[in-house]
């Protein structure tokens, strides 16, 4: 178990540091004293039953959700209500959503060039060239001038990944990226994510795809009731789960 590392506040190589994070939705305590640190290039898969706070956790990392207590430091910028810090963090953190959230009134390539042009001030020609590179990487350059509504779910999700990558983020967050997809399309999205992992991207992935977790994760984080119950390497996690809750979870999702 020497590879397993729990939160270490002075770990300077950590690109994300979360310390004693607490968040409530109204009176519901959704994240409880949660601490986690992620190193540059590390791939973390977060799993757990629904309502355990997985999505809320990664949505806190780019401040789509505001936390009430604790510290989140991303790329040495602390997330507070300060808009300048939030903008700075969002420029470095890409996010892929369950429901893709492509902009339906813009073509695929416009979806990809929008943020580079308006946020990074990249010249349009350069932004388009960059977008085409990433669209090739997710294997749909031929769809560049279509509207999102003309694409399949798998293609839309790959465009969403390319759109995030066009901002050249240091960290990518994935919030159940394959949960809204037809079974036939899950693989094409996972392939792109594996390829991205191989390129050294720092990734936090909320997913139920345990095959993917076993293949790419450096660490698997198991959450329940707003806390991290167990965090370990995939081998240890699947073969030697420590807590009863993890064993129950694994037995339920791996039984078929």
């Amino acid at each position: 178990m020497e590879k397993s590392h729990q939160y270490s506040p002075n770990d300077s190589s950590a690109v994300i540091r979360i310390d004693k994070l607490n968040k409530w939705f109204g009176t519901f305590h959704v994240l409880r004293d949660l601490s986690l640190s992620v190193k540059q290039g590390e791939k973390i898969v977060i799993c757990g039953p629904s309502g355990s706070g997985k999505s809320t956790l990664i949505r806190c990392i780019n401040f789509l959700e505001e936390h009430q207590e604790g510290k989140i430091i991303v790329d040495s910028i602390e997330l507070t209500g300060d808009l300048k810090n939030i903008d700075a963090v969002r420029r470095e953190v890409g996010m892929v959503f369950q429901s893709f959230n492509l902009f339906p009134h813009l073509t695929v390539i416009e979806n990809c060039t929008l943020a580079p042009i308006w946020v990074r001030k990249t010249p349009q020609a350069e932004a388009e060239q960059l977008a085409m590179e990433y669209l090739e990487r997710v294997k749909i350059p031929e769809q560049a001038h279509k509207y999102p509504g003309q694409l399949s779910g798998g293609q839309q999700q790959r465009v969403a990944i390319a759109r995030s990558l066009c901002m050249k983020p240091k960290i990518m967050l994935f919030d159940e990226p394959t949960s809204a997809l037809d079974p036939e399309m899950i693989k094409e999205v996972l392939d792109v994510m594996v390829d991205l992992a191989d390129s050294g991207m720092t990734m936090l992935v909320v997913t139920h795809e345990m095959g993917f977790a076993a293949q790419v994760a450096d660490q698997i984080v198991f959450m329940d009731e707003g806390q991290i119950i167990e965090q370990n390497t995939p081998t240890e996690f699947f073969d030697n789960p420590r807590s009863e809750r993890t064993k129950l979870f694994l037995s339920q999702i791996l039984s078929h």
Partner: protein, 367 residues
């Protein structure tokens, strides 16, 4: 493993539809004679139209008269358009001096150049035309009111349909941006801004426009420095704009609420700030959804311009009222009001058709 190619073809080949369900016969069957009761409705409608259309045409054209000096010259069964010769200028320009009316016509022609680049795409020199559009209000003001070597025309000489167009178009052009800001303000996280916007919208929607126009004569001067007097047309434009923007804000709020929260989140996650995500992501989609409601508000606003009569301005309807009570032309109210109605119908129907065309064009992008 066998791929679909290996299996023998068991599909049924596509055949053309039966002849009676396509083409003219198919269309007639589906749309006019689809059932016994629909057939009866179709026949009754055709019968009524065959009575009405010839009668209207006969009244307006075949049995009408166009020459004469006053109502005693009107000898025909049908419409008497004799007054047009004398009064058309007044209906269009009010009391604008005869020799200067070319300025109004020029401003009207330039209006199309100013509007065109905003209404469609692919206009030659679109970018330069937009600069012209921005300058247009100033150009039109100088043309209409005078200055820079043009003879001054006091605004109490403005009237007729020109006045409806000035007030209506100013209101339309101003109420859209103001309505957008009010709609966004109503959703603001800052309570003060939200309350101000809600207060404005509810207060303005809660009273009739006619009241606002009366009040503009009394209330607006109180808010202004004592030595500033606002022209009555400007006051009307302010009130009509305020009135329409309150409705506009609610129409646009409906559109904003239809945008899934994922769109806001994706825009935020990409690092777009509030104004950029509104301008580039949310508003283009929300406004597209709101087109029918927006144009509805525009059409209502345009027709409401006839209310300026209550503060002593003579728009086309005011001129018409004055004419039908003139002893020379007494009793010609049908002709007069039909004539006025045509003007409003042309403008409102054009807006309606434009909005349908725009909706169709934009819907092409969705799938």
């Amino acid at each position: 493993m066998s791929s679909p190619k290996d299996t023998p073809n068991v599909y049924t080949a596509a055949r053309p539809p039966p002849a009676a369900s396509v083409g003219l016969i198919g269309w007639l069957r589906q749309n006019l004679f689809s059932s016994f009761s629909n057939t009866i409705l179709t026949l009754v409608s055709i019968y009524l139209l065959s009575l009405a259309i010839p009668a209207v045409l006969d009244w307006a054209f075949w049995s009408s008269q166009v020459s004469g000096d006053n109502r005693f010259d009107c000898k025909v069964e049908g419409a008497c358009w004799a007054w047009l010769d004398q009064r058309l200028g007044q209906f269009l320009f009010g009391f604008y001096p005869d020799g200067e009316r070319w300025r109004v016509i020029l401003a009207f022609v330039l209006l199309f150049a100013a509007l065109l680049p905003w209404l469609t795409t692919g206009v030659p020199g679109q970018r330069y035309l937009r600069w012209f559009s921005i300058a247009y209000p100033f150009i039109a003001t100088v043309l209409l009111a005078g200055g820079f070597g043009l003879e001054q025309v006091p605004t109490d000489k403005f009237g007729g349909f020109m006045l409806n167009l000035i007030v209506g178009l100013s209101g339309i052009v101003l109420s859209l941006p103001v309505g957008i800001l009010l709609a966004l303000g109503r959703q603001s996280k800052l309570p003060l801004i939200r309350w101000l916007c809600i207060g404005f919208i509810e207060a303005v929607r809660g009273v009739p426009l006619i009241t606002l126009l009366f009040v503009s004569n009394i209330l607006l001067p109180i808010f202004l420095p004592p030595d500033v007097t606002l022209d009555s047309i400007i006051r009307v434009i302010i009130m009509v704009t305020a009135f329409a923007s309150a409705y506009m804000a609610e129409v646009i709020r409906g559109g904003l609420q239809a945008i899934p929260s994922g769109q806001y989140e994706a825009a935020n996650a990409l690092g777009l700030n509030y104004w950029r995500s509104m301008r580039l992501i949310v508003l283009p989609q929300a406004l597209r959804i709101s087109i029918p409601g927006i144009v509805n508000t525009f059409i209502g606003l345009f027709k409401d311009t006839t209310l300026v009569i209550v503060i002593g301005l003579f728009d086309i309807l005011g001129i018409a009222n004055a004419m039908v009570s003139n002893p020379d032309w007494l009793g010609l109210s049908t002709e007069t009001y039909v004539f006025v109605a045509v003007f409003f119908f042309v403008v409102c129907f054009s807006m309606s058709r434009y909005s349908m065309w725009l909706e169709r064009r934009l819907s092409g992008q969705r799938h």
